[in-house]
Symmetry: C2
Subunit: 348 residues, 2 copies
């Protein structure tokens, strides 16, 4: 449906504050004061200006404003893969918190590619964002931003320990708890499926796994640590390889949701029943884990809360640039479901 009469004002070019001022019969300065609320304006004049602005459909030009003020009310959010629910929830949390606090979000999905990541932060710098919240994949990224004097909050994993604020969870402790849960059920051959080691997340989860085994006096078996690629198929293949042997583990700890999905699919393909033939613990609880039968025991981290906390940290930093850097550690809980049970031999 087309609007009734083509308003002669709105069909023309976008209105500027100068036009608003003219229509209201005041100067640009006065119009600016009336609209922003900074400075003195007589009440009747303020109303006249407001009226004129709304008649013209005036919306401030954020470009011109930030140019003059040398600051913007937008923040950059950089994630590795929006299609992954973890990042999507993180981004949603960050976005909502930012909106709530009067900021807009420039979101970039860099697909975990270092070159794209660098291009992304250059775009952030060009846009003169007030700050950046990022799940980076290289240390270079944060360094670049800090050199440009743009505050950064690293989320989920750390690359620039101590140089910037961060929001993470206790990966090591949570991984230890997950592994201990399996040990307490009687498992002794526990495989760890993991995609990388370079990030703090992977390294710490691996350490937590090792901690628990060591505490239980179980010698470290390199064979049981399975490095795989980052996507479902790679995980599936990695899981098949370790689960196919006669001497297969009785339990698998999958270090993230994608690896858990791969393990789940591999087990199904091999006809392994969970938890009878195999126990499974995942890191990162996502919806399907509570929809399948049995449900998958998982370490639940609240990605939305991480996003919110990251934006909060960033704005705290903007409010007080001089303060020492802070790392916020959010808690994660082990949610026990049906995928973990005592191993077959002890149960029998």
């Amino acid at each position: 449906m087309r609007s009734a009469a083509p308003d002669p004002v709105t069909v023309s070019r976008r209105a500027t504050i100068k036009e608003v001022a003219e229509l209201a019969g005041v100067s640009r300065s006065t119009a600016s004061r009336a609209l922003t609320g900074n400075g003195y304006v007589a009440e009747p004049v303020r109303l006249r200006v407001r009226q004129a602005a709304s008649e013209l459909g005036y919306v401030v030009d954020a470009m011109a404003r930030s140019l003059k003020q040398q600051s913007t009310r937008s923040i950059g959010v950089l994630v590795s893969d929006l299609r992954n629910e973890f990042y999507a929830n993180l981004a949603a949390g960050a976005s909502r918190q930012a909106t709530r606090l009067g900021y807009t979000v420039m979101l970039i999905d860099d697909q975990g590619i270092p070159e794209d990541e660098m291009a992304a932060v250059e775009a952030f710098v060009a846009m003169r964002v007030a700050g950046v919240v990022a799940t980076t994949v290289t240390a270079e990224t944060t360094r670049f931003l800090l050199r440009q004097r743009i505050p950064v909050v690293e989320v989920d994993r750390r690359f620039s320990d101590g140089d910037c604020d961060a929001v993470v969870i206790d990966n090591r402790g949570s991984a230890r708890a997950a592994t201990r849960h399996l040990l307490e059920l009687g498992h002794r051959r526990i495989a760890l499926l993991i995609d990388e080691d370079d990030w703090t997340t992977g390294r710490e989860r691996r350490e937590g796994y090792a901690d628990a085994l060591e505490a239980a006096g179980i010698p470290h078996d390199e064979e049981l640590v399975v490095p795989t690629g980052w996507d479902v198929d790679a995980a599936r293949h990695g899981a098949r390889a370790i689960l196919r042997g006669a001497d297969r583990p009785t339990a698998v700890f999958a270090a993230n949701n994608v690896l858990a999905e791969g393990t789940w699919r591999a087990a199904a393909e091999l006809g392994l029943r969970i938890p009878d033939d195999l126990s499974l613990v995942a890191f990162d609880d996502v919806p399907w884990m509570s929809m399948v039968t049995p449900g998958v025991t998982a370490v639940a981290q609240d990605a939305g809360a991480m996003g919110r906390a990251a934006v909060q940290s960033l704005l705290d930093r903007l409010a007080d640039p001089g303060a020492g850097t802070r790392t916020v550690v959010l808690s994660a809980a082990l949610r026990q479901r049906g995928s973990t049970a005592p191993p077959a031999d002890t149960a029998a």
Copy 2:
């Protein structure tokens, strides 16, 4: 780790093109030409300027540039709920396509709240985005943007039929196919779980459902159409209500993934076996549907492709503002899995 020696240049304020020009020993005009590639610059001069820029860590100020050029290279993307995989994939597709074509994305998650949506588009206007891709919840939103002369592409659902470009799928046809699939299996009492009717998506899916029943000569039974809220719990309650009765339907068509999740959970709670006691077809295929046992038969729409197509449409529009509006209809496929089977009485 702190960087070795605090570079005296980079610790100071951000470099401007004026400083680059001075370091290279040329005028601002020449520096601009050297960096943008618009206009004549002798090769050695170009190199000197480039060198100076990189020494100073110069990054163009997009604010100043857009102010002068009266246009930006960013587009607004508005979605209703990033935590929903459909929107997340849509946003990911849009974001990647935009990046590929040299645009940056301002992403806003308006939580499906009309007021937030209006605030979001005002922010887009203030940022002077080149265009907007949106899954709107009111017609007002698109109208406002068009009045500001900002091109809009509506995705997933339509509110402003004919006034702007759009990217959708054939909801009616797909719903018809899904329902027909159940009819062909022998179902006669097929419930439709649906959350709303105001959007084209809901309305068209309902029409498709009705089409199929009518074509099969089955009288319309208002009792079998269950309106619910938009979240999992509401869907679960709606599903329980219809599935608890003695005269329960033999199949459910859930009009989106959230409704399907609610139905799935409700069936589990009531001890109904799928597909023995109940067949289930979902609209919108998401990962859990292929992870559960049995898998859920679903209409699969490619949200990422929709996002890509929307951005493409938007840029086509920017290239040719005068062209007639276009609606791109993407295909959706019915993926048959184990959740659909002949009803118990005919099978027995």
